[in-house]
């Protein structure tokens, strides 16, 4: 039996799938419907000071006919009053005692204001608090959101105002619009938060209408930067989550966010150290119903691999993350084409010829071109296998025997030990000794 339940810094839920603080978690109606569909937790749409949203606040990023590869927004925090939200949170928690409800908060940088809202949030019976230091637009101009998240000292100070009075777990939601994500994460830890959530949205302009020359989305002829989310941000989010997860100074639970649409995406975040995962854009696209596949898919994967608890897999891919200098230079793969699967589109040829190392030959055969890899010239870059449209047609095959290892760091050390200088010539000598030919 697979058990998907988690404990994220003291916030427990029956599965790791939470809704991120955003339009899908705006109201009791939506959050109850989400729980009905199977979501393990919700981070309520951020409560804040009185605000108003503009009409026309989203912009979609389509790629190659695929809708919503990314989503840009200039929406602010909730535009419903704090009192209504608190009342609904309380009612929802009563109806769904086994699910996690986390209240997202963002108020001005005054200790009393934070104390006041934190107490109210706790009174609802919610399971945790998330501090929104991420919103990149609108709120930051008012000294909140990303304006706090981008300065570790502010982040620590305000988080302390919260943790000093909170009786429930506090997660700090981080903005990705920083150069080193480890800094705000450490600040959250120093302020005694129970964990962090990341990433919030990335500063973006999603596009320009080429007929009207208006920025998208256009608000009566004006626009500006918004926050970018959805599938396109996943690789960035995965990186940031991994950076926080491998930081020995951090070592707290992480709620992973950014471009999660399927159980596979979620699993990748978990393998890189996330305890819970949060979803926004995918639900804005397809509705709460996607969680059924997420729960089933993750459960099936776990049982097919013999795992029964998420603890067994959390962070399992992290030990592989290392610096470039520690990668083995003598590891060698080459591309092999399964001719029986090849449909003769020649995409591998043109990619390698113009975009890589010119090691695929085209030989006319039976009225089409046969693509043949010159293995001795193949550098094993993966490009042809990435562009090939037929699954499993081009595979990358390891050709070294796995017995020799030499990393860049080793190599530099060797040169140093031998009193040799690192020059193109000395490097060529090393390469020759290992049958590596650069052309």
């Amino acid at each position: 039996m697979v058990d998907l339940s988690i404990n994220c810094g003291g916030i427990k839920s029956p599965n790791p799938f939470w809704l991120a603080s955003a339009p899908p978690t705006n109201s009791a109606y939506q959050n109850c419907k989400a729980f009905e569909a199977g979501w393990g937790g919700v981070v309520w749409k951020t409560l804040s000071h009185p605000i108003m949203n503009v009409s026309s606040r989203l912009g979609g990023f389509d790629y190659s006919g695929q809708k919503l590869a990314g989503l840009n927004n200039i929406e602010l925090t909730t535009d419903r009053s704090v009192d209504i939200n608190l009342k609904e949170i309380k009612e929802t928690k009563k109806l769904w005692p086994d699910r996690a409800i986390i209240v997202s908060l963002m108020v001005e940088s005054k200790r009393e204001t934070w104390h006041d809202i934190v107490k109210k949030a706790i009174d609802t019976g919610a399971d945790g608090i998330e501090l929104n230091y991420g919103c990149p637009h609108g709120m930051s101009e008012r000294g909140m959101g990303a304006a706090v998240g981008q300065v570790p000292e502010y982040c620590q100070m305000i988080t302390e105002w919260v943790t000093e009075i909170s009786t429930i777990p506090v997660l700090v939601k981080l903005t990705p619009n920083v150069t080193n994500i480890q800094m705000p994460a450490r600040a959250a830890k120093a302020a005694k938060a129970q964990g962090v959530s990341l990433i919030n949205t990335i500063n973006s302009i999603v596009g320009i209408d080429l007929d009207t020359l208006q920025i998208i989305p256009s608000v009566a002829g004006k626009g500006g930067h918004g926050g970018f989310a959805g599938p396109a941000v996943k690789p960035i989010a995965l990186h940031m989550v991994s950076q926080v997860a491998i930081d020995p100074e951090f070592n707290l639970p992480i709620s992973g966010i950014g471009g999660i649409s399927t159980w596979k995406d979620a699993l990748e975040f978990i393998l890189l150290g996330a305890t819970s995962v949060q979803v926004c854009t995918a639900v804005m696209h397809h509705g709460f119903r996607i969680v059924e596949d997420m729960i089933e898919g993750l459960t099936n994967w776990m049982s097919s691999k013999g795992y029964s608890k998420l603890d067994q897999i959390r962070g399992k891919s992290l030990p592989q993350i290392d610096s470039f200098g520690n990668l083995n230079l003598l590891f060698k793969t080459v591309a092999r084409i399964d001719q029986s699967k090849c449909i003769h589109c020649n995409l591998c040829y043109i990619a390698c010829e113009d975009g890589a190392h010119q090691c695929i030959d085209l030989t006319p055969e039976n009225g089409h071109n046969k693509t043949v890899i010159r293995e001795k010239d193949c550098v094993g870059c993966n490009l042809c296998s990435i562009v090939c449209p037929v699954p499993e047609c081009i595979s990358m095959v390891r050709t070294d025997d796995g017995t020799s290892e030499k990393t860049w760091n080793n190599l530099v050390q060797d040169f140093r030990n031998d009193g040799k200088e690192l020059t193109w010539e000395s490097l060529a000598e090393f390469q020759k000794g290992h049958g590596i030919e650069i052309h």
Partner: protein
């Protein structure tokens, strides 16, 4: 029969009967699945008589969640493999796909469904459903066709003790016997029976209720009875010469093609099929694929009035079948065996309330078409006698009368579904009936 068509090589038979819609490869299934828009409350789902959550099962293919996908399909339809292969998808789910409206090719829903269920059966059916604990009540199901199987599966999961009585030695009903081999092979239908058996359903084959065991004994021994008995004999043409050697019924012919070696099924050189429904097309194309030289469909009304689907009509035309519309058989000529069929030209009259035009013979237009075999495909009779023997069960227009929401017959303990209540529709309708009747039975036994 004389003038038997010459036998083909086994290789040629295999080629003639090869699948019309071959399975998807992994890559092709993935590519097709990712074309689906994942519509909400999708028109395809609404067009499916069993309301399979199609966009959800397709989405799950695209995430490699094939077990979850199988669960989504099966919980709505217990004979989903048969449906994937035999449903007229062009007029159901695929016909409703929004991509048609967009000007694109609709998603190949049938083939995707088959991909999922093939995979599930190949994996030896890992359990996806949990049975409720036994409630001590028992239900007898008569007939192991799609209606009976669906009803059994649903009831077994609800905790009932279910016994299926099947007169034939091999279960599955028309799913096993009645579907053209280029659409589906017998083995697929039997796998669906196996699936239902994994829920603890007891399938007794070779037991003819009314002969081997009295209906009344079943009625007394079980808490409820479900009739999934289908229809009876093929309808007679009622013309002279019907008794000649070489006159067969479409269902017998189709069953032979499905169960015997193709080389041992006798087919004439020139074959006439009477009637123009989907069964008639099956018989015509099968006769052609067995090696008949000339195959024709004779139908007394016009092409607009025939009940065969357009895509079936197209298939027949591709196979070189000749259609004689507005032509009615008057008698079958021959001494001991069929030598020809005497027909008369017809003229269309005014459309009736259903829009179907009756046709009237044009006097003096008789003519004889030389043929060696006549296949009757003008429908089936109901199981009149059997049904008449059950007290309370009412019969209207040759169909068992039921309450539409509960599938209960005039006898409160007896429920019915499938061809016996609708006069002969698709597998998928029977699958839905069986499932709904199971809930009717459950409500009845819990009140």
């Amino acid at each position: 029969m004389e003038n038997i068509a010459s036998k083909l090589t086994q290789e040629q038979y295999e080629k003639n009967f090869k699948e019309l819609h071959p399975p998807f490869s992994y890559g092709a299934a993935l590519a097709e699945a990712s074309r689906c828009l994942y519509c909400y409350d999708s028109p395809c789902m609404k067009a499916c008589p069993t309301h399979i959550d199609i966009s959800q099962f397709i989405k799950k293919i695209s995430t490699d969640n094939l077990l979850g996908s199988a669960k989504t399909i099966l919980k709505s339809n217990w004979v989903a493999l048969t449906c994937a292969k035999a449903c007229p998808v062009a007029v159901l789910c695929e016909g409703a796909c929004v991509l048609n409206e967009k000007g694109d090719k609709p998603i190949e829903i049938g083939r995707l469904q088959r991909y999922v269920i093939d995979n599930y059966f190949a994996k030896e059916m890992p359990p996806l459903f949990t049975k409720k604990p036994s409630n001590g009540k028992s239900v007898a199901i008569i007939g192991s066709g799609p209606a009976g199987l669906s009803c059994s599966a649903e009831l077994a999961l609800l905790g009932y003790n279910v016994t299926v009585f099947e007169s034939s030695d091999i279960p599955g009903g028309l799913n096993t016997w009645g579907i053209a081999p280029y659409k589906m092979r017998k083995e697929d239908a039997l796998k669906e029976v196996e699936l239902v058996k994994t829920f603890g359903v007891n399938v007794k084959t070779g037991v003819n209720v009314g002969i081997d065991i009295l209906f009344n004994d079943l009625y007394k021994a079980f808490d409820a009875v479900f009739l999934g008995i289908g229809l009876g004999e093929s309808r007679a043409l009622s013309v002279n010469g019907e008794e000649l050697s070489g006159v067969v019924s479409a269902l017998d012919f189709i069953e032979q093609v499905k169960t015997e070696e193709w080389s041992s099924v006798a087919v004439g050189k020139r074959v006439a099929i009477i009637g123009a429904g989907n069964t008639s097309i099956d018989a015509a194309t099968e006769a052609k694929r067995l090696g008949a030289e000339e195959v024709m469909v004779i139908y007394r009304r016009s092409s607009q009035d025939m009940s065969a689907y357009n895509f079936e009509f197209d298939l027949a035309k591709k196979d070189g079948i000749i259609f004689h519309f507005l032509t009615a058989p008057k008698k079958i000529v021959g001494k001991n065996f069929v030598e020809g069929i005497e027909c008369i030209r017809m003229e269309p009259g005014e459309p009736d309330s259903k829009g179907k035009r009756r046709a009237f013979p044009v006097p003096g237009t008789e003519f004889v078409i030389p043929v060696d075999m006549v296949i009757k495909a003008i429908g089936q009779e109901a199981q009149n006698e059997f049904i008449a023997s059950i007290p309370g069960v009412k019969f209207v227009n040759g169909m068992v009368e039921i309450k539409p929401d509960t599938y209960q017959t005039g006898n409160p303990k007896v429920f019915a579904g499938g061809d016996c209540i609708n006069g002969g529709k698709e597998v998928v309708n029977a699958a839905y009936d069986g499932k709904m009747a199971a809930h009717g039975i459950n409500n009845f036994l819990n009140n």
